[in-house]
């Protein structure tokens, strides 16, 4: 259990973390989301006592981190994959860390097996790729078999297989009853991994809720309706009909209609009464990414007038297009163009159509040994 109360950190005039209060409970993967520079890493550094809060406090199982009797056995953290001395061999690096808390040397070989680095254990870490560095950092975090685990951007630099492995590892660690706190700016990643979300923007808490609550609160569900036939006439007739019934209708490039504001049975009834056949009538739920973009967008809007760094903010959402539903209604009915449906495009990596698809995929790389502990 991690508990932060009124956590604040200022660097000179800049407030990196502002009155942050939250709880991270055991048995869950808790995602920690926010754009770059929103204070995620600073918060994590304060949790493990590297930075002193300007005010407020954060405790782990009721105690400040720096007062834990054997910190390594209670908390494992991956804060920076490159926080190693490049001249030291991977195994020696882990051995030195293990010796700090009297962890037996055998445990070093165990965690090297868990992260799949046993073949490069005797190489100097200078030559490691970012992905290998992440694995080494995860190994270091697991050394003490801790109850609380913190990971700052653990999937950065990992290949798709590695990402899947990290995802399954997080879930497995949480299923064992550990507290797992994972920061990321990749919403799609959190949608697949986390049960609970803590979202911050500009150092302030924006949301602290379950993933499904977060999505339903921050995004509108919609129905995709497709009229029978490929002609525009049927589609326009259906669109007019639904529009007349009070729905908000957008067209998608492949001819389907995106309808909000009407329940599915009502759409079916309306079409039936008008004698229109339907080829598709399906419920859709916005993805976590869309929900997140909506939320942080409003956070940016809220601060943009007083924030001279607004340019930076805009650039930080690399590759993630903001949900353009806000703009679509302004386009005239004639040249309607709506963006592709969620999940069908603009997936940063390995993004399945449905979040559940990958979650159920078989676990882990073959070289990864089970953690025997």
């Amino acid at each position: 259990m991690i508990e932060a109360v009124g956590l604040t950190k200022r660097f000179g005039a800049k407030t990196a973390v502002d009155q942050l209060s939250f709880q991270v409970r055991p048995g869950h993967v808790t995602g920690f989301l926010g754009p770059n520079g929103s204070g995620k890493s600073t918060t994590m550094r304060m949790i493990v006592g590297l930075d002193r809060p300007t005010s407020g406090h954060v405790t782990i199982n009721g105690q400040p981190f720096r007062e834990l009797p054997n910190a390594q056995r209670h908390v494992g953290a991956l804060l920076d994959a490159k926080a190693v001395h490049g001249g030291r061999r991977a195994r020696t690096h882990l051995l030195a860390l293990a010796q700090l808390s009297g962890i037996p040397e055998k445990r070093v070989d165990e965690v090297l097996g868990v992260v799949g680095l046993q073949d490069v254990a005797r190489q100097r870490t200078k030559g490691f790729s970012l992905g290998m560095g992440q694995r080494l950092g995860i190994a270091a975090a697991l050394l003490g078999d801790p109850q609380v685990l913190l990971f700052d951007e653990p999937v950065n630099g990992l290949d798709p297989e590695g990402i899947l492995w990290v995802r399954n590892l997080m879930k497995q660690l949480a299923a064992e009853g550990r507290t797992v706190f994972v920061s990321s700016h990749l919403m799609s990643e959190m949608a697949l991994t986390a049960d609970h979300l803590i979202v911050i923007g500009r150092g302030r808490l924006l949301a602290d809720m379950g993933v499904s609550d977060f999505i339903s609160l921050n995004s509108a569900d919609f129905a995709r309706v497709r009229a029978a036939g490929t002609g525009r006439a049927e589609r326009d007739a259906l669109a007019e009909l639904l529009d007349g019934a009070g729905a908000r209708v957008l067209t998608e490039p492949d001819g389907a209609l995106r309808v909000t504001g009407l329940p599915l049975p009502r759409i079916s009834d309306l079409a039936h009464e008008a004698g229109l056949r339907l080829w598709e009538l399906s419920p859709h739920r916005a993805s976590l990414e869309e929900a997140y973009m909506r939320m942080t967008q409003s956070a940016v809007e809220y601060t943009s007038t007083e924030d001279p760094r607004a340019e930076l903010w805009a650039q930080e959402e690399q590759g993630l297009k903001p949900w353009p539903a806000e703009e679509a209604p302004q386009v005239s009915a004639e040249g309607w163009y709506a963006p592709p449906p969620p999940g069908a495009a603009a997936a940063p990596f390995l993004m399945p159509a449905q979040p559940g698809d990958l979650a159920q995929a078989p676990a882990s790389r073959p070289t990864t040994a089970e953690d025997p502990r």
Binding site: A77, S101, E176
Partner: protein, 274 residues
Amino acid sequence: MTAPAAARPAGYTSPLPETRPTLGHAVASEWTKMISLRSTVWTLGSLAGLVVGIGLIAVANTSDTDYSQVPFLTPALFGLFVGQLSVMALGVLTISSEYGTGLVRTTFTAAPERHRVLTAKFLVFTGVAFATTTASVMLVGLATALVHGGPDAGPHGAGEWLGALGGCVYVTLLGVLGLAVGAMLRHSAGAIAAMLGVVTLPPVLGGFLTVWESTQGLGGLILRYNAPVALGDMFGLPMGDDAGPVPVRQLLVLLLVTGAAVAGAYAETARRDV
């Protein structure tokens, strides 16, 4: 997105036995860190190589009569003048390489009692630096005594060996000062530059301070108490003409300076974010 929370266990308890970390654990860790880096091994090797190499050259080019007035340990002094730079560099690197690479964040996350880690660093460094320096110096001294120990060399007492041991303590203290400065500055190049200044500036600074009458006293003091002069005093090549136990005073001066720096290092390490 995943299984319902109700199915999750309430907490996790590790089956591994839990020991309370001690200073001994930290010393073991620091020892592993020190011997697992090529840079530290090279630095130590250069120290031993300089002292022994230059010392043996001096031994080969002197005769028995040269040692009628000076101790057998004097040949080791020439190498140690250069070798002390290696000791200081090693002291600085012991801590600043952790700050430079970011390893210190991993270390302090694993062991939030920063004093334990810092104390272990001081202990391991002091042990390694003193052992290497003393072994090299004594090797040169023994070689001199064996080669030039004839009747022309005159009588030699245990005092000169004790003096050389004091010299080794002095050089080790310089290294400890380097470690403390490294812990405060957290930057390899900056800390090494500062330490080079500590060794090389006093003769220059003292020299021009003695030019003016008002600062003459201070200049003389600086000329008297600095690293090269102190080493000369202890290795039986006195460069001043003070009466009394000068080597002890030289050691005390450095001990005071180092003590202050070490106190500063502890305070800074505990206080500052890493």
